[in-house]
Symmetry: C2
Subunit: 537 residues, 2 copies
């Protein structure tokens, strides 16, 4: 440990850019000699170690400019790599697309293997479908680059599954055919989360291509069920805590976006409790003329109970939900107050005249640290264009609650289920209600003063020449909380997605700018992390 600290303090100071420029040519030569050094290092004995380390510490002086140039010169390769990945319809919510999802995991594993990583495709078992059937979960890809115990080890988490997308949903381009329009790369999963995962891979690849040693050991955990709640991953993390994850110091997640054009670091996310409320009655759909008036219609019942979830002014009506929420502190209020956030710009982006709250602090607070209810849609009713005169026999509403500290998913499940059954009972309907919580992803929150975040600030400063916003995320990265609880390691969320990338909606995109500069950010961040003192872990 002490040796490692010594090594790191000998590292070149990342901010001494002038010095870097001066030593440029010298380094190119050293790099060549380093190759030999690296190859022979395993055979070294202890007496020669110290002097060699001093040499390496000089060799490893961070060559950001070369790395950044390398990235710039490979932009088209990176875009093509993203095109190949977007073309795979790895929709984890649609069981019919499961073969594509399996293929996506294999493609990811292959890419990492070709880079010389130690790669595994970890079987995480099966998924139980609502109808009782089981389906193989996509394997989780783990990979390792570097195994130097004197270095820090980071574990990059990402996912390569995507939300559903169809051209008919209103996409301007084919969602699975990456389309470049004025520097924006449109495609499902482009920003969430395929480009960020590729950017991390390319960051490692850039070091390799320039024969530069990685400043830290880099591990990957890439999953394929994030969009539906990371089914199976929790158990895998628990199972690998003392093996694959045992030497991991820090966990990095880049599965979110900036708040504006300014880069951001994310220090919290909301959770997601996703519910199915199914109301079933007749044994099959009925003609609404022939049977209308005789039958107590499941759709009417479902609409009736859905209407009791949230008030027009955004108050959640389910007893106990809002009461559980941690109160807003003065510090938080001040922090939100200080954040650069243009309400008009935000409204324009969404295309609305009025938001639920008219001041910045209320709005940000309700995006980040208060829960909300969204009704996503109804399965089983008539949803196509045209005029079908049907009484649907069984209808299933999909709605979710973005929950926050200190709401517990298990408690939310009980509160929602009990409440819906109680309002349903008042209808005295003979139909059957079934409430299921199909996702119960926890919220996550960390201290922004942690060295991981200091390192993040430094990396953003180097690449973008500005300070990052410190933000929370309204969305959910289900696994963050699990990583934290199981490994006890610190986590940073370092987004590279744009604020207007349209995650989960039509015309999702990743800009070339964010993709390429994001790759550079990751390159710079690996260097910054290597400078964190062990004592502060």
């Amino acid at each position: 440990m002490n040796l490692a600290v010594l090594l790191q303090t000998n590292h070149h100071n990342a901010n001494q850019d002038a010095e870097i420029q001066k030593r440029k040519k010298q380094r190119a030569k050293v790099c060549l000699s380093e190759e030999t050094d690296t190859q022979s290092r395993e055979k070294m004995n202890i007496p020669v170690l110290f002097s060699v380390l001093l040499v390496i510490s000089t060799v490893q002086a961070f060559q950001y400019t070369e790395l950044a140039q390398y990235v710039d010169s490979h932009e088209e390769d990176y875009v093509e790599a993203l095109r190949d990945w977007v073309a795979i319809e790895s929709d984890s919510s649609n069981v019919l697309k499961r073969p594509d999802l399996h293929r996506m995991m294999e493609v990811t594993a292959l890419k990492l293997r070709l880079m010389g990583g130690a790669v595994e495709l970890v079987d995480i078992g099966e998924q139980e479908l609502p109808n009782g059937q089981t389906l193989a979960l996509p394997k989780v890809v783990t990979a390792q680059f570097g195994n130097d115990s004197t270095k820090h080890t980071v574990c990059v988490y990402g996912h390569v599954d995507v939300q559903p997308a169809k051209l008919e949903d209103g996409w301007a381009t084919e969602p699975y055919n990456l389309t470049d329009i004025r520097g924006n790369l449109y495609g499902r999963g482009a920003s969430d989360n395929k480009a960020p995962v590729l950017a991390w891979i390319h960051a490692v690849e850039a070091y390799q291509a320039l024969n530069m040693e990685l400043p830290v050991n880099v591990k990957f955990v890439i999953e394929g069920m994030e969009e539906t709640g990371s089914n199976g991953l929790d158990a895998m993390i628990v199972a690998q805590r003392d093996t694959f994850l045992s030497d991991v110091d820090y966990i990095i997640i880049s599965d979110c976006g900036w708040l504006s054009r300014r880069p951001a670091l994310t220090y919290g996310t909301r959770g997601n409790c996703y519910f199915y409320a199914e109301v079933g009655g007749p044994k099959q759909d009925l003609h609404s003329g022939v049977y209308g008036g005789a039958v107590i219609e499941p759709m009417t019942d479902l609409i009736g109970i859905l209407d009791t979830l949230i008030s027009p002014s955004g108050n959640i009506l389910i007893p106990g939900i809002r009461e559980a929420v941690a109160p807003l502190t003065d510090e938080e209020w001040k922090m939100y107050q200080d954040i650069q956030f243009d309400m008009d710009n935000y409204k324009n982006k969404i295309g609305v005249d009025q938001l639920m709250y008219s001041n910045k602090v209320d709005l940000l607070a309700h995006l980040w640290r208060y829960p909300t209810v969204t009704i996503h849609g109804i399965e089983g009713a008539f949803s196509d264009p045209g005029t079908k005169t049907v009484i649907p026999a069984k209808v299933t509403a999909k709605f979710s609650i973005r929950q926050v500290p200190n709401m517990e998913p298990a408690m939310v499940k009980k509160q929602v289920t009990d409440y819906l059954h109680s309002v349903f009972a008042k209808r005295k309907s003979p139909n059957k209600l079934k409430v299921t919580m199909v996702i119960g992803a926890k919220p996550w929150l960390v201290d922004t003063q942690h060295p991981l975040y200091e390192a993040g600030r430094a990396a953003v400063k180097r690449v973008f020449d500005m300070d990052p916003d410190l933000i929370r995320e309204g969305g959910t990265i289900p696994i963050a909380k699990t990583f934290q609880d199981v490994t006890g390691k610190s986590i940073i969320m370092m987004p590279i997605g744009g604020f207007d990338d349209g995650l989960h909606s039509q015309n999702e995109k990743m800009s070339r700018y964010n993709y390429i500069e994001g790759t550079k950010l990751f390159i710079a961040y690996l260097n910054e992390v290597s400078k964190i003192k062990r004592t502060s872990v």
Copy 2:
């Protein structure tokens, strides 16, 4: 006119079955001689007319047994004809299926033309879509068999368009591949309305095949927009009132079903006011994590206003709707009371434990002569399997009101639109509500003592050896009211569909029994109608 009456009173009495049997062989010979008579008739001059008519009147003695045998021996041909028609996906509500619908009209026209009918494909113009685009309406097929001014002329109305259907909706078999399971022919449109239309065509064909003169002139009006409100047909009927329809005495519609296993005659239908309620907000779908809490969600607004349409106990909450309904008379009450109707059987068929009303009269009254509201579904929200975490940007509810005498569609449109806008206004939402009535089909009601219904009773008696139920129909045959208002002619609804045919729902079917015996019923009915005295028209 007097000559015609004389001719008809000379007709064989349909009930004298023994007499028919006795004359069987004799008739077979007369048929052969009739052929020659028919061919030479056009060249006859007035002096010889009377004696020839006497010969014809004997020739035309109704040969039901031969016709019924002909039908029985052609059952498989009829099933194949239905298979061909069901295979055409003539879904009038889906604009993408419009080419199939056009083909369906052409196939229908061709079939009638090959039988020697005077057939036209009448252009009825274009349809305006909600987005402002226009689309050619399917042509209406008119056909004429026989042009004998001494005979009555009936006009059979039917439609060959169908409701939407997909295997994924829960069909046990491919909906457009007619599948015979234990004598039931499963397929979309089998019962509604392709088999009944074919049965009418086959009825005419049977007379032709046996060289029997049709007892009445038979015209057809076959449309392709019934399932979406018979767009364009009203105008066509008005336009052809003094031409194609001018010599029509009676209109026959077979676009409904029996109430039980007993054949039925239908004397009323409900109307259908079909609405779209569209709520739009953000310019595109949004990630529910990223934006949930900030945005006033269109789906929440839509659920909120839909929940104000109808109470859990079936009361329509839209002011003015129920007040307009004609009060239940004592006669009606008694009539309903006398109808054979097995509540338990009905519940079993639907698969529910409890209906909206627990006694027969209330139930039938609310199926036939009281309005109801059905919410069919929501377009634009997430309706697929899986868990998409989306805030839909624009959602359109589809709901319909089955209206009854004395509700006027124009008034219903105003009542619904005003009401929804008023409840929406109370939400103070910045989203935009747009209410459109896309179908406004009127209800229809006639006197069951009319000779057309007497003839119907006689035909049912002959074919099924029982009296028919006299029923109303909860569904809508939009054009009945228009035919009545424009032509001033009497209408009968003579269903052959089974009570459990599953119209508009999964696994729609037509039984071979109803299809074949129904064809015989139509054959018998043409004969009964020919006996109606002119004075009672």
